[in-house]
C-alpha cells in the first residue's frame, strides 16, 4: 500500500500493528494485524463501532496504551525512517506534539482546569523544547487561538469559562502549536451541537490544509466521515476490513460489513425503514473462527468460518478483507 495516492507521498507506514489486552479470561486482540499507509496532507477517516479497536490504534501510535494493554507487535514508520513504536520514552516525548498530536474526545482530557488557556499552551510548548521569551511565546499562542477562531482574550480565560465548542477549539490550537505532521482526532465533536460541530470541522479542515498536515479522524458518525474525509478505513473486531476513497466506500462498498453499515445509516430519505446489522457484537475474548464477521454476514460461506481473509486490493485504491474478493483477486492476478 505504499505507492502514492493522488500524487501524495506516504507519511506513515503502519504494518502488522498488534495491541493486546491481558485479562483474567485470556488475551483480547484489540488491534489485529493492521496494515495502513497514511499519506501527507490527507484526511483519513477511521470508522468503527465500540470494540473495533479504532481508539486503541491511535493510542498505540501515541504510545499511550496502559496496562493491561500492550503493543504486541508491528511497526509505524515515518517517511524519514523513524519507527514510532520503537522509540524510547524520551524520544516519544519529543515526537508527541512535534510530529504527532492528538485532539481528544473531551477537552477534560487535554486542558488543565486550573491554568489559564494561554498559560497552558505556553507551558506545553516549553515542555516540548520551544525556547523563547515569554512575550514571544504568548504572541504565538494568540496567533494560534485566532487561527482556530478564538478571540485573543480567550488566552486569559480558564477552561470552565469557555463553552464546549470553544474548549474544543482550544484543544485544536494546542494540538497544532508545534506544526505536527500527523493529527489524530478522536471523535473531537461527539459532545457538541450539530451546528457547532460543523464549524469546528470546517476550522479543522482549513487548518489541516494550511499546515499540509495529515488528519486521522476516528469516529462512528458516517455522515461526518463522508463530509470530512478523503479516504476512509473501516474497522471491525480489531481488524481493518476495508479501505478506500470516500466516494468508493459510500457508493460502492465491497465488504459486507461496510455495506450493512452504510445501509443502516438513518437518513431523511426513508421513514419507518429500520435496517440494522443482525446478530450480536463479537467478543474479543472469544472471537469467531476464520473471518471475524462471518456469524453476522449475510454472504458468509462455509469457507468463511475456516479461513481468515486478508486485506487485498479489490480495485485501484480500494482494499477489502473478504474471502469473496480473494478469489476474484487471485483469479485476476494469476
Amino acid at each position: 500500500m505504499s505507492e502514492s495516492v493522488n500524487n501524495r507521498e506516504p507519511l506513515l507506514d503502519i504494518s502488522g500493528l498488534e495491541v493486546h489486552f491481558e485479562t483474567r479470561r485470556g488475551i483480547a486482540r484489540a488491534v489485529n494485524e493492521v496494515d495502513l499507509t497514511l499519506y501527507k496532507g490527507e484526511r483519513f477517516g477511521l470508522v468503527g463501532e465500540s470494540g473495533s479497536g479504532k481508539t486503541t490504534m491511535i493510542l498505540a501510535l501515541l504510545r499511550m496504551i496502559k496496562t493491561p494493554g500492550f503493543i504486541a507487535g508491528g511497526k509505524a514508520v515515518f517517511d524519514d525512517g523513524t519507527d514510532l513504536l520503537a522509540l524510547d520514552a524520551e524520544q516519544v516525548r519529543q515526537t508527541r506534539l512535534k510530529r504527532v498530536a492528538m485532539v481528544p474526545q473531551g477537552a477534560m482530557n487535554s486542558l488543565n482546569p486550573v491554568i489559564r488557556i494561554g498559560e497552558q499552551m505556553m507551558l506545553t510548548m516549553r515542555e516540548h523544547g520551544e525556547e523563547g521569551e515569554r512575550d514571544e511565546l504568548m504572541a504565538r499562542v494568540v496567533g494560534l487561538l485566532e487561527k482556530v477562531g478564538l478571540k485573543p482574550e480567550a488566552a486569559s480565560l480558564y477552561p470552565h469559562e469557555l463553552s464546549g465548542g470553544m474548549k474544543q477549539r482550544a484543544c485544536i490550537a494546542q494540538a497544532i502549536c508545534l506544526n505536527p505532521q500527523l493529527i489524530l482526532a478522536d471523535e473531537p465533536t461527539s459532545a457538541l451541537d450539530v451546528v457547532v460541530q460543523r464549524q469546528i470541522m470546517q476550522t479543522l479542515r482549513q487548518l489541516q490544509i494550511g499546515l499540509d498536515a495529515t488528519v486521522l479522524l476516528v469516529g462512528h458518525d458516517m455522515g461526518l466521515m463522508a463530509q470530512f474525509a478523503e479516504r476512509v478505513g473501516i474497522m471491525y473486531g480489531g481488524k481493518l476490513v476495508e479501505v478506500g476513497t470516500v466516494s468508493d466506500i459510500f457508493r460502492n462498498p465491497q465488504h459486507p460489513y461496510t455495506q450493512l453499515l452504510i445501509s443502516s445509516i438513518p437518513s431523511f430519505e426513508t421513514r419507518g425503514d429500520f435496517k440494522g446489522i443482525p446478530g450480536v457484537a463479537l467478543s474479543l475474548l472469544d472471537p469467531p473462527s476464520g473471518c471475524l464477521f462471518h456469524p453476522r454476514c449475510p454472504k458468509a460461506t462455509d469457507a468463511c468460518a475456516q479461513r481468515e481473509p486478508t486485506l487485498k486490493e479489490v480495485s485501484s485504491g480500494q482494499w477489502a478483507s473478504c474471502l469473496l474478493h480473494e478469489e476474484e483477486h487471485d483469479a485476476t492476478a494469476s
Partner: protein, 346 residues
C-alpha cells in the same frame, strides 16, 4: 375521557450560586410548554433540541421526577404533585421511561434480571413465579432478545444494545400507555440503533403505546416519529408533522439545524460551504438565558428584525404546524400554545 398526561404551561427555573457573598443566579430552563397526550389514541411525538434546550427537563417534569416552577403536569386530570398513593401507582404503571445510558440504569450489584423482576414485584403483575417468568420471556422476545442469552447475566456482560433493549422490555412489562424515551439510542452503536428504534416503532404500531421521544438527532426522529417539537433554549421554536418540519423547516433555527447535519453523501458541499459565522457562543447564549423579553434566536438569526426584540408567539405557519417567528406573524397564533390541538389539525 381526560387526557392521559397533560403539561399545562409548565415552566422551570433553576437557581444556582447564591450564598453569603454571591447573588442567586436564575436560569430559565423551560419557559412555557404545553402538551397533551391522549388516553385513547396513541401518538408519537418528538421533542428535539440541542443540549441546554430544556428537553430533558421537560421529560423529568412529565415523569414527575422534578416539579415545575409554574404550571402543572396532570395525570388523568389530576395534578401529579397531589396524587394519592394508589393513583401514584397507577401513574407509574401507565407512564414509563427509557433512559439514555444503558449502563447506569442497572445496579451493578445485581444481575440484569433484577430490573425486570422488581417492577413485577412492586406492581403485583404476576400471580406466581412461573407467570412472572413467562411475562419476562415474552417481553424480551418482543424486543428481539433471547431470554436464554440475556437472563442470569451481569450488566457488564452484555452489550449496550442488549441492555437498552432490556430496559424497553421492562417498560413493556408494565403495559404502559405512554413511554417517555430520553435519547434512547444516542449511547448505542450505530448498527444497533435501527433495531432499537424498530422495537419502539413496533410498540407504537402494534401495542398502541404513545411515545414522547426526546433527542438531539433529527434523523432518528424522522425515522420513528409522527410529530415533532423543536426546542431552542427552553422555548418551542417550531412544531408540526415530522415530514413537513424536516423537509420544509419554517423556523430559521430548524433550518440551521437541518443544514448542519452531515449527510452520508460525499458529494455535498457541507464542509466547503461558507456559513455565516454568527457566533454560536454558548456562553453568551447562557447569559441571555436570563433575559426573556426577546426572541432567543435573534442574535444568531439571519432574518432578525426590530420586532424580534419581543418574544414571538407561536404562529400558525401552515396546516397543522407552527413556528415561533415573526416571519409568520401574518397568521394567527396557536391558542394557549396548545400543540396537541395543532397536531390534530393535520
Amino acid at each position: 375521557m381526560p387526557p392521559l398526561l397533560e403539561a399545562r404551561h409548565i415552566r422551570k427555573v433553576f437557581s444556582s450560586g447564591g450564598g453569603l457573598f454571591a447573588e442567586d443566579k436564575e436560569t430559565v430552563a423551560v419557559e412555557d410548554f404545553t402538551l397533551t397526550i391522549d388516553a385513547d389514541k396513541p401518538s408519537f411525538t418528538t421533542i428535539a433540541g440541542e443540549s441546554g434546550s430544556g428537553k430533558t427537563t421537560i421529560a423529568r417534569m412529565l415523569l414527575g421526577v422534578i416539579p415545575p416552577s409554574e404550571g402543572e403536569v396532570l395525570y388523568a386530570g389530576r395534578s401529579i404533585g397531589q396524587l394519592e398513593k394508589d393513583e401514584m401507582r397507577s401513574f407509574r404503571q401507565d407512564v414509563q421511561a427509557i433512559f439514555q445510558d444503558p449502563f447506569e440504569v442497572y445496579n451493578p450489584f445485581y444481575k440484569v434480571d433484577h430490573i425486570l423482576t422488581t417492577p413485577i414485584e412492586k406492581f403485583g403483575l404476576a400471580s406466581s413465579k412461573s407467570d412472572a417468568r413467562e411475562q419476562i420471556d415474552a417481553a424480551l422476545r418482543t424486543v428481539g432478545l433471547r431470554p436464554e442469552e440475556t437472563l442470569g447475566r451481569y450488566p457488564h456482560q452484555l452489550s449496550g444494545g442488549q441492555r437498552q433493549r432490556i430496559t424497553i422490555a421492562r417498560a413493556l412489562l408494565l403495559k404502559p400507555k405512554l413511554i417517555i424515551a430520553d435519547e434512547p439510542v444516542s449511547m448505542v452503536d450505530a448498527s444497533l440503533r435501527a433495531t432499537i428504534l424498530s422495537s419502539l416503532h413496533k410498540l407504537y404500531r402494534e401495542f398502541d403505546i404513545s411515545f414522547v421521544y426526546i433527542t438531539h438527532d433529527l434523523t432518528t426522529a424522522y425515522q420513528v416519529s409522527e410529530n415533532i417539537v423543536v426546542l431552542y433554549h427552553g422555548t418551542v421554536a417550531e412544531a408540526g408533522g415530522v415530514e413537513q418540519v424536516i423537509k420544509d423547516p419554517h423556523h430559521p433555527y430548524t433550518r440551521e439545524l437541518i443544514q448542519s447535519i452531515p449527510v452520508p453523501d460525499p458529494g455535498s458541499a457541507w464542509i466547503e460551504e461558507e456559513i455565516e459565522e454568527k457566533e454560536v457562543d454558548e456562553s453568551s447564549a447562557a447569559a441571555s438565558m436570563q433575559g426573556w423579553s426577546m426572541c432567543r434566536y435573534a442574535p444568531r438569526c439571519p432574518h432578525a428584525m426590530d420586532k424580534c426584540s419581543t418574544r414571538p408567539p407561536l404562529f400558525r405557519s401552515g396546516a397543522g404546524r407552527a413556528a415561533a417567528c415573526f416571519l409568520y406573524d401574518e397568521q394567527e397564533p396557536v391558542e394557549e400554545g396548545n400543540l396537541t390541538q395543532l397536531f390534530s389539525e393535520k
